[in-house]
Each structure stands twice: as C-alpha cells, then as structure tokens.
Amino acid sequence: MPAIVGPRRALLNADPLAGLRRGLVSSWRLQEASGVAVDSYGTNTLTNNNSVGTTAGPGSFQARSFVSASSQYLSVADNASLSMGTGVPFALAGWVKFTTTTGNPGIAGKWNGGTSQREYLVSLLSSAPRIIADVSTDGSSGNDKSVGATTFGNVTTGVWYFVYAQCDLTNVGVSLNAGPLDTTACTQAFDGTAAFELGAFAGAANFLNGALALWALWKRTLTAAERTQLFNGGNGVAL
C-alpha cells in the first residue's frame, strides 16, 4: 500500500482544535489534582489560594473544586496578556457547576470594584440565580455594562453549564450551553490592574462554592460554530 504523502497527509494530521487556538491567550484545563492551575497555552499559570481541590468534571474531564467557606480561588497578577482596553475584542469560556448559588460568586474575570479596577467578569447573580457578564468601560460601577443569560434562564446546583461571554466592541454578550447570546451595548473593557481570578472576584470576596473546568480566554470573539465545538454536546474539549 503506498504511503500517504502531500496534501492528503497534511489533511490527516490536521488538528481539529487548531482554529479554536487562534487568538487564544490562555487555556486553564483545570485537570490538576492539587496545586497551581497550569496555563497549557500561554504564560498565566494560576496561583492556588487556600487549597482549591479537585472533582469530576464535564464529560470525561476532571475539574477543580472550590469551597467558599475556605476562601478558595485561583489567581494571577495583572499583566498585558490578560488586559483588554480600547479596540480589543475578547471572549471567555468554560464550565461551571454550583454546590450552592448564594453569595453572588465570581466565576472568572478581572474585577475589583473596591478600587475601581473593574474590567471583565463572569459571575452568578444569586437572586435569580442567573449567570451574568459584566464589562466596565472605565473601571467604574457607573459604566458597568451588565447582561444576564436570560434566554437560557436560571441555573441550579449540581449541573454542569458551559458559559461563554464576549465583548465585540459593540456589545457584551453571554450564553449558556452554546445557545443564543444575550447582549447589551459595550464598546470596550477598561484596562486596569485587577488580578485575574477563577472562583472569586476582588480577591477576598464573593467566593464560588462549586467547580470549574476547561476555562480559556481569547483576544477575539468566537463564532457560533466554535462555541458549539467547545460545548461538544455537553462533553467539553481541552485546548
């Protein structure tokens, strides 16, 4: 049998996830049993604060577990790769499961309201409870552009959700499980000094009681087809 060479060979070797890595800044698979959360693509490996643990994730993946009463979260200091600012569209996506839905917990983002260093944030609005995306154009609460995943509706405990949030320099949008985007007007994210955090925001507040898996950050927005690819029928993919 002749060896496959040339274009056919290249086709066989094609990485089906290569397109999803275009514009990718960081990928936190969150498959570690303990310790830091490695950035498998970029340079933003996350510090483990107060012994973030491990648990079963979506599909066949693992996840990192967070106990709010123990103030557990993952973080990395502000740097240029994680900052957006004028003219930079971006997207943030990953999986979350809640043990409890109280306390307005942070899920992912750079957001410190106390010092007017609000940039971008995915969190849970506990009163619904509903997942929301916030982007501040100048760090202030007055220009906090917030949108909830109202098309999907409320979330509950014990269920894995695939969350996607973006800012395309016209709107900030959020969707769950690769469904339609809910949007509100937003032209940019403030470039501030807040740390990037998974499982909390503002460092010492709003801790997640639940689990996270397969989070990633891009400096572009993703197409509907790409969001569906990431959702992968509820099984997720690791970038």
Partner: protein, 135 residues
C-alpha cells in the same frame, strides 16, 4: 457623628501599632505550621461584623476553621485582635508558597483595608486603602 480625618488616621495608626507584635507572632506560627504541613496556615476572618470607627472588635470566629485544614486560630493570636478584623490566606504560586494578612476596619461607613504578603507574590501587599462603601 462622622470621624475627622485625624481621628480616622489615629484609628489606623493604633491598628498599625498593634500589628507590629501580632505580625511577628503570625510569622512564627506560620513558620512552625509550614514545617509540619508543607503549606501555610489559613485563618478565617476573625470577626463576622467589622469593627466600626475605632470600636473594639467582636472576635467571634471561635474554633471555626477552613474545612480542608481543621486548625482554628490559636487563642494566643486571637487575644491580640483589637480594633480590627484580620484574615490570613495562604497560597501556592508557580514560584512557591506564601501567605497574606488582610486587615479590615470600617471608618465613616467605608471599608478600609491594608494587606501584608509574606511569600512569592509581593504584589499582594498594599497600604491602607479606602475600598468604598462597606456593605
């Protein structure tokens, strides 16, 4: 009646003075704990309600401890808490472990905090900062 700026400064100065001895004791505690556990100790916030305008703190953390750790605040440290609340968090950074102490008080309705890092992420240290309205 609202505190004047000098009165707020006096509260912060009194807390700072108390911290000189307390932080030294915490460092000693952390060094001992690390020697036995290969990670630093976490202390949950000492008061559920933050002390206001220089009043004495109601230290009610008792024996409550993080679920993964099971070791609460030592009484010898809690007895040194005065007009502030203190929380110690620990971390494992890519460059190594560390811990942070965060002091909180409420002055004229605003949350004031300062933090001291001991470890690999010195960016966590900051001086007295008005974090906005206390909620």
């Amino acid at each position: 009646m609202a505190l004047t700026n000098p009165q707020m400064q006096a509260v912060r100065d009194a807390v700072d003075a108390k911290l000189v001895t307390l932080w030294s004791a915490i460092q000693s505690r952390e060094a001992t704990f690390f020697g036995s556990n290969q990670r630093y100790w976490q202390g949950l916030r000492t008061s559920s309600a933050l002390p206001v305008d220089g009043a004495a703190a109601v230290v009610d953390i008792g024996s409550t401890a993080p679920s993964y750790q099971g070791q609460p605040w030592p009484a010898a440290l809690l007895s040194q808490i005065d007009k502030f609340a203190l929380e110690i968090t620990q971390y494992v950074a890519p460059t190594g472990p560390g811990y942070v102490g965060t002091i909180s008080v409420v002055l004229n309705g605003n949350l004031w905090q300062r933090a001291q890092d001991s470890g690999q992420e010195p960016y966590r240290t900051f001086g007295w900062t008005n974090q906005g309205a206390a909620t």
